[in-house]
């Protein structure tokens, strides 16, 4: 079952912050976040594992609320390079295939 992402699209000015949410109706083992720029392959950003272990980098962070089965991706002081479509990939059991959300299109304007 496909996770739900919100918002569908967001427009920011450089330096502003954004939050993208990913919700599942089923219990999750992990959530992966990817960014895809137009005409390019999705690129891995972050993994959130059941149990609270978090990985990430730079000014992008994320949380995983096991009670709500929801993950949120936080983009702080956004840069032009952050523009793209953000997908969450949900894994319901360890080693199972990822189910991707429909994506959130982020546009950062100068």
């Amino acid at each position: 079952q496909q996770p739900v992402q919100s918002p569908q699209a967001v427009i920011l000015r450089e330096g502003e912050d954004a939050v993208i949410n990913c919700s599942s109706s089923k219990a999750l083992y992990s959530v992966h976040w990817y960014r895809q720029k137009h005409g390019e392959a999705p690129v891995f950003l972050m993994i959130l594992l059941k149990g609270g272990e978090q990985k990430g980098h730079d000014k992008i962070s994320a949380s995983f609320n096991e009670k709500k089965q929801q993950s949120s991706l936080y983009l702080t002081a956004s840069q032009l390079s952050y523009s793209g479509t953000y997908f969450c990939g949900t894994e319901y059991n360890y080693g199972q295939n990822f189910v991707f959300g429909p994506g959130t299109r982020l546009s950062v304007l100068p």
Partner: protein
């Protein structure tokens, strides 16, 4: 270190024809997954190969088949092409059992006319 490579980059086929797409995984990766991405949508899981066997399969018809070779490279075959098969086909490699992220290739854009 070469990442995931896919070939060809673009392909135009006619309804009813058959197509083969190829993928070489990132060095050190043993698992290959194939995804179909329609315009404006998220990638949809087709199947995953590990140790030359189909390990998992998504909700795709039997017209979609695949293969993994001893060097971990993989092929995706689609028979009896339909107009609805037009999409970007992404190959992603990973390491099984290591909470490994997916490393995607740039995809093959398939157009069925």
């Amino acid at each position: 270190d070469a990442g995931v490579t896919q070939s060809p980059t673009h392909l135009i086929k006619t309804r009813g024809q058959q197509v083969t797409l190829r993928c070489s995984p990132k060095s050190g990766h043993d698992t290959v997954s194939w995804y179909q991405q329609a315009l404006g949508q998220g990638p949809q899981f087709i199947f995953q190969y590990y140790e030359e066997e189909e390990r998992q399969r998504g909700n795709f018809p039997d017209r979609f088949s695949g293969h993994q070779f001893p060097n971990y490279s993989s092929e995706l075959n689609v028979n009896a092409l339909l107009l609805g098969d037009s999409a970007l086909y992404l190959c992603a490699s990973s390491q099984l059992n290591f909470d490994s992220p997916l490393h995607f290739g740039n995809g093959t854009r398939l157009t069925v006319t």
